[in-house]
């Protein structure tokens, strides 16, 4: 008899079960409530104390007092951006965990974020005024190349790779890529400070243009992700089984990869590589909603990811009040223990 194990929520453990609709409803409502509250808080909390009501009126009723301007130009983009980035990273994580059948896969673990970040830094060093679409494109290319390298080299396509090997490979390559990124920074003194802040990951200095840059990617990404949902469900039964049921495994993987890289790359281009969100949110959703059905998981992860990052951003303001701290630090501090919890539930092998 094998050593008894206590599993964590397994990706692809069984056919998607009927979700208790009420659980999903509760989660959705809670997230929306939290989002609204968080939105208001995000608008009002800052070095310039602005009340809840004043903030909301600034957004919806216009006006040109200094407070209104602060809200609209600085805090509103920040709040919106954190929501979008949260959604992007989370959905990226869901898809990655789905196509690699690996519960510890995520864009940051497998090097996609690091790759995107490296190319962005390189681009900014060469063209300091670059922004918007070209920057996103660069980020996507970087993320795609590195992510592909990791997946290929860790043998994700050929037979069974141990999950741990994939994670270790991804982390090591990410470390390599980050060294390169740091090299760019070291040899370009004038870019050091802000680039570094960005490198840690933060929506702290979001601009309105960032929001507009990211939005299309979020929308298109979500649509594409939902289109993949049924294939992802099938993949959860195991590759062979999925093929037997008519799933086009390779195509799903490629399309999934495209969505991941697109959503993650765009998010990194505007907010830097934010860690752990893509890893952790899908697990929370799967656990709370008690489902493996991607039609439910994808939108819920987007919703929950937005909420989490919005609140993480609020939290980041308190780390060293009144100074800004990168949001990426908060997600790391919260995400790491979570990942550790996941790791503890991994099966013990020999």
């Amino acid at each position: 008899m094998a050593t008894s194990v206590i599993d964590g929520p397994e990706v692809g453990s069984a056919a998607p079960r009927r979700t208790s609709g009420s659980r999903v409803l509760v989660i959705v409502i809670s997230c929306i409530v939290l989002l609204i509250i968080g939105f208001g808080l995000s608008l009002s909390i800052g070095t310039a104390a602005i009340s809840f009501g004043a903030a909301l009126s600034a957004v919806f009723l216009g006006g040109s007092t200094p407070a209104d301007l602060i809200v609209r130009a600085i805090r509103l983009p920040r709040a919106l951006l954190s929501m979008l980035v949260g959604a992007n990273m989370s959905v990226g994580g869901v898809i990655m965990q789905g196509i690699t059948a690996n519960p510890i896969a995520a864009p940051e673990i497998l090097g996609v974020s690091a790759g995107a970040a490296m190319v962005v830094v390189a681009a900014l060093v060469a063209f300091p005024t670059m922004g918007g679409l070209p920057l996103v494109a660069a980020a996507i290319v970087g993320g795609a190349v590195i992510g592909l390298i990791v997946l290929l080299l860790a043998g994700a396509g050929t037979g069974r790779t141990s999950n741990v090997r994939l994670a270790l490979a991804g982390v090591t390559i990410a470390a390599l890529v980050t060294s390169l990124t740091q090299a760019f920074i070291i040899f370009n003194d004038n870019t050091a400070d802000n680039v570094f802040f960005w490198l840690v990951g933060g929506v702290n200095f979001a601009k309105a243009t960032d929001v507009w840059t990211l939005l299309p990617w979020t929308v298109i990404g979500m649509v594409a992700a939902m289109a993949l949902a049924s294939s992802l469900n099938l993949l959860g039964l195991g590759e062979d089984m999925a093929r037997g049921l008519g799933a086009k495994v390779e195509r799903t993987r490629v399309l999934g990869g495209v969505v991941i890289v697109g959503m993650t790359g765009a998010a990194v281009a505007v907010a830097g590589p934010i860690t752990f969100l893509g890893l952790v949110t899908p697990h929370i959703v799967r656990k709370l909603a008690a489902t493996t059905n991607h039609f439910v998981i994808i939108p819920l992860s987007a919703l929950m990811g937005s909420t989490l990052l919005l609140w993480a951003d609020i939290g980041s303001r308190f780390v060293r009040w009144p100074f800004e701290s990168p949001t990426g630090v908060v997600t790391a501090v919260i995400g790491a223990p979570f990942f550790i919890m996941l790791a503890r539930r991994q099966k013990v092998s020999g």
Binding site: T158, T161, L176, I186, V200, A332, P337, F339, S349, G350
Partner: protein, 352 residues
């Protein structure tokens, strides 16, 4: 099929087999050491204006201008010695970790030790800038130790499984990374210096650094070598190792402690130099096999060679600018690691 009386021939044959195998275990490290010695001398002549390789060689026979000799001995030789020590430290530490975690991708940089040491050193630098330089290695050691402790504690659940150790290590490493970056962000004027230290550099190291680090290596490495065979037994799997009389958890704990101490001390003196701990054991393994008695010395020798080569390249590529040695190891180590991964992926047996 079988006889019950021991055949003399088999026992005798075992003797000669042992002898034959051992030769490679000696020749490989010796050759590497010889190469490293030559490199050590040559590298003294690289990268400093006005001093060339000829001067370095000439110094051995006393044929060089005393001024140049002084520069080489005073400023460059500590770096060379540190290359030796750090190379040994990181390589041996990496070998041990890969054996304990039973995963060829494990390394001190990956499972949180180097990052933890980095946090320790940075905190010391930032909070107590007036402290003597001797305090920094201690702080780094404490940081690395704490990180390793965190990893161990969180990975412990009726014993630590190699899988859990690796995964928890990744998480703790990421956590430390975030803290380090936060610390750097708080101190913009020092970003560059901090980054350079983080990447791993031997710039400005002096003999006092050497004396600080030397005891760690001299004490810890032989201790680890004493455990060589027991590390082999651990590699057979926890159950069989216990069946062979190895107190598995206790041995693992002790050996991890030694490896952590060694890696942390290396970080304290040279910053977080990456990839040596990952790659040196691999190269050594492909040359002399996986038995630790052979692996550890060869791994150390490879580590030394890699450090010397990297340092030479770092100083000699675009003089007088110095590329931090950690960056060079990343550039050398990175592609090699990718090649390793590709090889692993291609092997049909899914090793764990």
């Amino acid at each position: 099929m079988t006889t019950t009386t021991p055949r003399r021939s088999t026992a005798a044959a075992l003797d000669s087999a042992d002898a034959r195998r051992s030769t490679r275990h000696w020749t490989v490290p010796l050759v590497l050491v010889a190469i490293s010695l030559v490199l050590s001398v040559v590298t003294l002549g690289i990268g400093t204006a006005g001093i060339g390789v000829g001067d370095a060689v000439g110094m051995l026979v006393g044929a060089t201008d005393p001024g140049k000799t002084h520069i080489m001995l005073q400023f460059l030789s500590p770096r060379v010695i540190l290359c030796w020590l750090v190379g040994i430290g990181l390589a041996v530490s990496g070998s041990v970790l890969q054996g304990v975690i039973r995963n060829p991708l494990a390394a001190p940089d990956i499972i949180g030790i180097t990052k933890g040491a980095g946090v320790g050193a940075m905190l010391m630098l930032l909070w107590f800038p007036m402290a003597p330089t001797g305090a920094i290695p201690v702080a780094a050691f404490v940081g690395g130790l704490l990180a390793a402790l965190l990893v161990y504690v969180f990975a412990y659940r009726r014993g630590t499984s190699p899988v859990r150790l690796a995964l928890v290590g990744i998480a703790v490493s990421a956590l430390c990374e975030a803290i380090i970056r936060l610390l750097i962000v708080r101190n913009p004027p020092d970003v560059n210096a901090a980054l350079i230290w983080l990447t791993g550099s031997l710039f400005g190291r002096s003999m006092s650094d050497v004396w600080q680090f030397l005891p760690w290596v001299v004490v810890l490495v032989p201790l680890i070598v004493l455990y060589a065979r027991r590390l082999d037994v651990l590699g057979l799997g926890d159950d069989l190792a216990a069946g062979l009389g190895e107190p598995v958890e206790r041995t693992r704990r002790l050996v991890l402690l030694l490896a952590v101490a060694l890696a942390s001390a290396s970080v304290a003196v040279a910053g977080t130099v990456g990839f040596i701990g990952l790659i040196a054991p691999h190269i050594a393994r492909s040359l002399v096999g996986g038995r630790h008695l052979a692996l550890l010395p060869s791994s150390a020798a490879v580590g030394v060679t890699l450090m010397l080569v990297s340092d030479a390249i770092g100083r000699g590529l675009i003089p007088p600018t110095e590329i931090p040695v950690g960056l060079v190891t990343a550039f050398i180590g990175g592609p090699y690691f990718l090649y390793l991964l590709a090889k692993l992926a291609r092997s049909t047996t899914s090793g764990r």
